[in-house]
Symmetry: C2
Subunit: 425 residues, 2 copies
């Protein structure tokens, strides 16, 4: 098959008829497939069912003798800090363990900065018309935090190395109201890109007009390899410290896609100054996190090695789904020149780029054929993809055969939308 | 023994010498007793150890078929809402279940109001110089939330019926910047007072200059009776709805002092409008609460009747401690006319009022003799008791014999401080 844009108009018309017929066949099947959510499958959650019985009735003491059932321990059990320290490449002393949601820790960190400012800054961000840099495509819920609180967002294009430093550097050097950047540095959501050393170092070193610029480093997929070899990521905490910007990075992580998505443990790691600041605020915010669930995780996983072993079981479940997406995309779209997609080596998503102006049409076509996709534009601030090009594919939740069927529909819709567009132009 | 203020100065001098000798004896014992914290004792926590094994490895489905391990369910499992609905006297549909900390729900509710306002209001409270009414003595962590966020606090005296309506009514009628009041309506912290129907109705009905006035109704001790008969509390949600102020009350509760203090479940109940508003914000704040811990609580307690049965076991543990405090206070101070104290029928505290100007001296004297008490003033906004009179006694955590010994020391210190003061004046 040749590239679609090289077809004559009569060939395009013939192809269109053929695609419409295929599309009609799919519609007639009354499919109900949901590819919208980056949720683990039940079979992944089953891997951690031992967590629910990891504690006996008399097992509630932490290593330091604290009673995990009672109040106290604002920033987590020592042994849980240890595990997150290993996972996020930080000293355990610089870890603050939270509840079950790293999004909540990130949200609350933004809110604290809005209301109270951060160490080294000029007071509350709220009065400084704060702006955030948003590498795109990116994680919708990061952007939603900014939108909800009236923080202006600036799109930063992603390359295969991470966010474009050439775009970032002049912006942060010139504008003191740019206070932060959202990063998913490893197996980025949705592109799967892991930031290169050059990008990590660039972010750590770059001069910023804001004295209180913060990198929100959401290391959500730090141990989420699909293959035996990992994509190495430089340590942002070390890089920033070496660049005399020790307080710049705020590193977030969780076990949500390791243990239980809704009942895991989340944490933040940062500089001693930022960690002390977080602790100070937390004393007003809460009585402290659920330490028994921490102990449950400690007993079940034991250490980072235990987590890594566990993640191999996850990859055995989800790798076939990712490979099915890649295989079907390659087979159906490989030669047509109307789409590009990522083949991630970890994380939770495949990023599909259609021709410009086609993404929302593809999502609508798929929806009409019974396949729900994440809304076009969802990976951009305010839900607006300026090129209407990006679609996030989330293959983990449905069973393999549903993923395969859904991708048949999606690739058909990509072809159909492309032919429609080529016919018009 | 006669009242101390009727003693002659030579009798006072003799008594002083005698008290100093007794005080010296206590000091020589090198006591280390901690009466500061309103924490449950280990023997209370033991009552709920079955919680840790309440789920089997395959028990993770809620009644509505949702997988409690996965994402989803922003406001809690239906069966957990049902239990909190019964506990807080609200329809289950008007309950939002949160994490393990009702303080966190209250804090976040205040922050949301500061940044975004509340339904029926004129926008963010932050720009309206908000003030809160603070019944005193009260709960230090309520006041700390206000202090931390720059909310001005106005002391409202507590009577045996609840906060003084005569003081409240003219204030809220005149000042639109008064946005809220902190209430612990049942077995109030620290006085043990349960608000009378007249007070509940008064708060529900009173005209307020602020269209968005909110009652923060922290029903922390709703099932925390020390005796078989409870102190009835009128339903603030009903009272406000009947008074056409349906959106005024925000009701909070938790199982912190029912199951595990640090690993329980917290919730809010309010009007449909307020609940919808909370849900809207929560979608930006978090991926949702830990539903497995909810399921654990549902399996262990089953319903409100199960919780009430469980609370009888708690009262069997802590009632002797409260009665020991009362007995020692009566024996040592009953005739002296230098202190008043509460004999609560529920809750977690005894409130001790010394003569004006003596509380901080008592706390210091006790500290020097090895008995740590909550700081004098802690029960007032900014930690300032204008009369230096109130001391919060927390008898639950230490074993009975330690409570008794500590109260011997405390009553001695009360006498000593009183004699010192009478000698000076």
């Amino acid at each position: 098959m040749t590239e679609l844009r090289q077809l004559s108009s009569s060939d395009l018309a013939n192809l269109h008829s053929q695609l419409i017929a295929e599309y009609g066949n799919f519609k007639a099947r009354n499919l109900k497939l949901d590819m919208t959510r980056g949720k683990p499958a039940a079979s992944q959650l089953d891997l951690a069912n031992g967590l629910s019985v990891a504690l006996t009735a008399s097992d509630y003491k932490s290593d330091d003798g604290a009673d995990a059932r009672n109040y106290g321990g604002l920033d987590g059990l020592p042994e849980m800090k240890q595990i997150f320290g290993e996972m996020l490449s930080a000293p355990a002393a610089n870890v603050v363990v939270g509840g079950n949601s790293s999004l909540q820790i990130m949200h609350d960190t933004v809110v604290r900065a809005l209301l109270h400012g951060v160490p080294g800054g000029n007071g509350p961000w709220l009065s400084q018309k704060p702006k955030f840099l948003c590498p795109v495509p990116g994680y919708d819920r990061h952007f939603a935090v900014c939108q909800h609180h009236g923080i202006e967002m600036i799109n930063i294009p992603m390359s295969d190395e991470g966010p474009e430093l050439d775009v970032i550097l002049p912006l942060v050097a010139a504008d003191a109201s740019i206070k932060g950047i959202w990063c998913v540095p490893k197996y980025s959501n949705p592109t799967g890109v892991t930031y290169t050393d050059r990008v990590v170092e660039g972010l750590a070193k770059m001069p910023t007009a804001a004295p209180d610029f913060r990198i929100f480093w959401d290391n959500a997929y730090v141990v989420h390899d699909l293959y035996d070899t990992t994509s190495p990521l430089a340590n942002i905490l070390d890089a920033c410290r070496l660049a005399d910007n020790e307080n710049r990075p705020l590193v977030f992580g969780s076990t949500s896609k390791i243990s239980f998505a809704g009942a895991g443990i989340a944490a933040m790691a940062s500089s001693p100054v930022n960690v002390a600041d977080a602790r100070k605020h937390l004393a007003f915010q809460t009585i402290g996190p659920d330490k028994l669930n921490q102990l449950r995780h400690v007993r079940f996983f034991k250490n980072l090695a235990g987590i890594k072993l566990h993640m191999q079981k996850h990859s055995a479940v989800i790798r076939p789904k990712f490979e099915a997406v890649a295989a079907i995309f390659e087979k159906e779209l490989g030669a047509l020149g109307v789409a590009r997609w990522t083949q991630p080596r970890g994380g939770y998503f495949v990023s599909l780029d259609t021709d410009a102006g086609c993404a929302s049409r593809v999502v609508n076509l798929a929806d009409e054929a019974g396949v729900k996709l994440t809304s076009a534009g969802a990976t951009f601030p305010l839900g607006k993809d300026p090129d209407d090009r990006n679609i996030r594919i989330a293959p983990t939740l449905p069973p393999l055969e549903q993923v395969e069927l859904a991708m048949q529909v999606v690739t058909l819709c990509v072809k159909l939308a492309a032919v429609e567009r080529l016919t018009k132009s």
